[in-house]
Symmetry: D3
Subunit: 316 residues, 6 copies
């Protein structure tokens, strides 16, 4: 691999990103017949790769796609790609890596080889600074969560149009907003386009019933940290009533780790600003991954923008 060029992996080959393409006859294009996984690095090191591979292979077994690779092989290819691209990106940038596995070509349906893709994306943490300091607004969309009776939400399947619609619907109303998607019984599930959700009442973490949510690595790691900190966790069927009256609320995902929520449907959650439990959890995250998550995101901002943001965080 040319050490000056970002690469991707396509069906066994490491190729420069520009050459990383797939035939239009791939089943991804006509059917959405594929699964995927996403991880990120901290200081150039992939976090929790084994867990991600385990979840990916559950998705593959469930969708009856045979990748013709073992989890170890796919993990090794990912690691190699990340190591290469990290060097290209330089020591100051983190990466998100993503595996996509499709059922292969429409032309050889069910008999041909799968398509296996690995690529990375540069991670600009400064884009997260505003959310870390001020919190993000959530809005409940009209679109409901796809029920588990139709398709499991527990693993990453590349059928995200319902979540996309939820997100497009709310971001048309507030460009900063994410969608807090409800199930048909009005229970909160997950945030669109793609984050876990949890909230705090009286010092206890509340997480939505897992039958409606991704077996999320970022959520799982957050709950591990909570256990280490002695914070109680309850899983259940919660509605907007619970969230409106929560003390704090957060989202989790691979890229953001954990981010505070400022309000739901225009109604502030708690003080509307990152609270003490957020600080405790993001500190634990930072220690665990060896990066001051909020500090780094803020630190990467241009000075003026940073000052304005810090002022905003103080005054409201």
């Amino acid at each position: 691999m040319d050490t000056n060029v970002l690469h991707a992996y396509v069906n066994g080959q490491f190729v420069p990103e520009e050459e990383a393409t797939v035939s239009v006859f791939d089943r991804a294009f006509r059917s959405g017949d594929h699964v995927y996984e996403v991880q990120r690095t901290f200081n150039g090191t992939l976090h929790g790769l084994d867990g991600h591979m385990k979840r990916l292979f559950k998705a593959l077994h469930y969708t009856r796609i045979d990748p013709l690779m073992t989890p170890d092989e796919l993990g090794a290819a990912t690691t190699r790609l990340v190591e290469h691209n990290s060097k290209v990106a330089g020591p100051d940038l983190d990466l998100v890596s993503c595996q996509v596995i499709t059922r292969g070509s429409t032309k050889t349906l069910l008999s041909g080889p799968p398509t296996v893709i690995i690529y990375t994306q540069l991670l600009d943490m400064s884009a997260l600074a505003r959310t870390y300091l001020l919190g993000k607004p959530l809005i409940t969309p009209g679109v409901q969560r796809v029920p588990a009776a139709s398709l499991t939400p527990r693993v990453k399947i590349a059928n995200k149009m319902s979540l996309m619609l939820a997100w497009l619907e709310v971001s048309a109303l507030d460009p900063e907003a994410q969608a807090l998607v409800l199930d048909r019984d009005g229970n909160v599930t997950t945030c669109a386009p793609g984050s876990g959700f949890l909230f705090i009442v009286d010092g206890v973490i509340h997480v939505p019933n897992r039958r409606n949510t991704l077996d999320s690595s970022a959520m799982g790691f957050t709950l591990e940290l909570a256990a280490q900190l002695g914070i109680e966790v309850r899983e259940g069927d919660y509605t907007t009533f619970d969230v409106y009256n929560a003390d704090e609320a957060f989202t989790t995902n691979t890229k953001d780790c954990i981010a505070p929520v400022s309000k739901l449907n225009g109604l502030r959650i708690g003080t509307g600003r990152p609270g003490p439990m957020y600080k405790r959890l993001v500190t634990a995250w930072s220690e665990a991954v060896g990066v001051d998550i909020v500090g780094r995101a803020v630190g990467l901002l241009p000075v003026t923008e940073r000052e304005e943001l810090l002022a905003a965080a103080r005054t409201t």
Copy 2:
């Protein structure tokens, strides 16, 4: 375009099929963030293209993807591609043409151009002969139809994993079977991997409630023909009870036009063979498109296979 080579259309260019590729960073790969349409030719002429374009643009409006083309422009590009590829394929072969439009690259999310693909597939009608003469078995899977509250079924969105799972589940039990997918109330909806469903009771066509089904061109055309033939049509919530006791049942889709169903969950429908209403409707189809649909499919079979099949159709 080289007149000896099948081509495809990718983002404004007609390219040989082998060169028709899309970057792995396309949103199709990680999110399934795209819509599509499918048509076929009869004797080299596209059937119902305008209706397909109209439905495609409803899908685009619903998913908030702007193709940066008009329906006429997309239709014209399709027609041009089909004309070219039909010549390559020769006068005896029909084509299926497919448009795929994605939200574009993950790298330019919501601000970059969409990806627009058109490709064709050669249509081997002989593969349908067995179904036309003996009927296809249906099985009700455990996987439920994705409800309209989560994602509309009325247009073609490339999020077909739920239907794929339904089909994989039943074809693991009987390789010839398709899945007759139920909604959460046990109503029959559509067949997986992708066909409409209708059945006959006392000379009346019964079609599942359209809130659960694709606004299908093949179904729509069948019902137009039925109207011309003076056959009554009822739309409603029907269950397997209705189908088990139907006189005949059919599937419709772009490729097959209309095909008979032999049994449901191992229980024969009517005589278990194509019945008089099937013959009436497929004849009307054949006249409308200028092709003897069943005759052509059977005629394309090797002689021995054809004889065996015709014998099987007579004896059972």
Copy 3:
């Protein structure tokens, strides 16, 4: 009644509005144990009073409240109050009249007399001019319609908190917006805080399934006019997909009569402006009630505001 003072009716007495009060022990306060009706005048004459009384007495029978009055007696008291208050208001103003009937005092539960209230409100049609010319935006809230299995939506029961929450949720995002409330299956039902909803596809009026909606007088009158105009009407289970792809959409209620919808969840409906079917229907309304509905609303605006509004209506 003092001819200079607006009055209200409370338990058999006509009293000046300032003296029109009810004990805090009324069951309205602790339980919401009451029903109501609303009508309006055009040029001082009540529109459709008999129909409103009929619906009110269905509500009373259903809730087992005996008003100790006949529909005719309640209608007569309303007419007398409206005649009086119309004179006070002067010839240029219209009125909304409202009857409220509660189960009576908590102190005499189920054995004491009901509370019967009639009051009027002055109707400022100029406030509707902006909506009539530019249309109103709708947003689908996360709050679901109260299902008929719990409480009928068909008559006016003073238990509107769910609709209030739906409206508050969306107006926090866009102060001009109303909520297009969905049922648990994602079907569109009614607009909050309180209007009927209909939309046009290919010249046909589509109205939500009546099992989820008020037996609305304004909707009913609109459909009567449509019948006279030879416009086809279909009732069914419709989702946001249908509305996004509609040619036009409207709301109906007692005060507005019929008003155009500009967009749903930020996505324009049709051209995003009042269309030809709207103009046809509001013209028929205007002729039927003897008032140029849009013209009057616009005419009541101050000149500058009117000009700006008309300019806005032309340019977008």
Copy 4:
């Protein structure tokens, strides 16, 4: 305040009950746009006021009504009213106090002040004696619980018509009966017109899933007492099958504290009489509030009625 007259609190003023009124233009009348709370005294002292205020302010936040008072201020006004009215009532009577907060006048919608009411009611415990000794019959109505997806059941909102209908439906069949309201899945939820429900199997308290029920103070206090007594509590989805086969069943509410259930739909629960667990719990209640709850209710009866009731309790 005149020390001979019962007073109420209306918008900042303590007024004699007869003068405690609210304008018919209040939003309570046309929309049911208000929330409330209820407490009672034992020996003249309010029980659990802080908890009630906390729940009321959750209701206010959820419904976006700003009372323009703090919980402490509202609590203080309540305490002052209760102290005054307790003196008027005399040392032998207990009181129920109730706060009602509406969104204010229809004339100043969303911009005017709220309406704040506090009133009390005299509590005649003798009316409860029959239930305490013989148990109350429950009947499952056809009306279903309003689902949390439409309106939270967790706090007191003055939209009780659905519960009223449930109660009217069953009390038309048996005037002593209360309604054990089911959700759409047939799970038991709460009793109408307004009590919590719990039952005993093998010495364990079973309470309905809290997503369907009020965060009830009386229930909460009962479960606290159970914890002190070492009685296990399970929360879950229970159906009539569980209740029919329970050893004992009870209702809880502010006024009754805890009352035994004799039968469900005509089928006795356990022996059909207050059982050992009831006696244990009502004894704990009595000790905690300093009043022999059952003894006092029975003691307040006229002698003849008391003797008959005690005889009935012994013989059945």
Copy 5:
């Protein structure tokens, strides 16, 4: 067959009723693995036997039980039994005949012969007089209709425990009452233990959605008569609100033909007495079957009872 003794048919033999037995190893006993049909005679002649046989064979196909008889053979055996038993019963009595077909013995599961039973019951129409003149009360139970997704309601399957529980629940509250069973959405379906339901609003017959109800012969015949009389029929999803506000309501079943409903949950329907539409329909029934249905039922009463009943019918 001994002409003095009532007989039954068991597996090909006509035997005296006392000897008509089935082994305890029959699958009816452990599984409820059987279907059935019921008809009645008018003046000794079976009514609508062919339709009943057609429905029975749909049930058999659906449940995959092969009776080893044709519809004609089973009909002929029934006719012969009815002729014999009618003679035994004498010319003044009518009969109900019933076919039961089980999957056979547990000992020969799926391989042995089915069990085929035909028996009759004497029909005492005087027991219906009270209902015909005064109407029957209905109550909505808590038990919900078994959904079609689990078992079709369209044919008679001997799995009636859910309906039995619904009926036992309401008859424990009012011994004369039948249960008007609701589905999970609160729609009225059918009456337990076993009658169809319809109601009248403004001269139009309303019948519950057929997806939830038996394809009832008595209902079907009623609707045929209505068509002959030019009465409009609407099928839909109706709730108790519709029934409370109906002008009249009826039940239909094989034995009663058509019977009036007096009230629902204690609330009268219309006048609470048989109305003009009832009289029109029962007259049409009487003419069609050659029996004055109400007159005969009343005429069979003892004189005193008859006079009291007629007086009651006049005064209320």
Copy 6:
């Protein structure tokens, strides 16, 4: 009782099996109006009779059938019958005993005596050997579990047609398959025709939510053994996704005790063969009941068949 003849118990009498019959007028035949229980012997001794009697009497109370016997009396009659029939069967055979209690004769509805039946069946364990060694395939049918809102699944009621249809549907596709029945939310519940279901993930037993399942003795006993072995048990809402990715899965019922599952919908579970947890649990079962369950079943096979089966178990 004749010591050479197997007997049954019918309404108080022990009679030879051939004479054990019930009148065709029994309510079992027309309504499925009965409940039942099933137990088995190990080495001639009934296992868990008291628990079965307790569950049976819950079923009787729920269905309002009075057996006119105590649990002890019914248990004693069962024990006596089993002792007798065990002697007839000889020392090497086990028995299944079954109690059936119906509401009695249609001729004396609700006033006559119930029908009480007890019978036994010889248990041929060799028929289970194949399943014990190779596992059984499961298929998810389209038929949904009857919901608890309609009829409790917690006790044995003779209304099994829905489960029969589920089983017939899948056994038509694979004669060895059982149906893993789903509820309307896609949660796994129970296996048809009649077994409990559990699965293993990471050494933890997962059982479906008990609101959807029988209070099964075999399952209960399995969980007791698991507790003794220190195996954790979780109860929850699980879908096919969980089962596809489980390490092992089992069914439990009275006859089989515990049996391994090989695959679901054609997709293997774990290795597709009995795993270590199965071996641990069946060993514990064997020790508890004093019979080597798998060993005995295999040992009863003819030698050739046994050898083939053992070879198959080794090679796959």
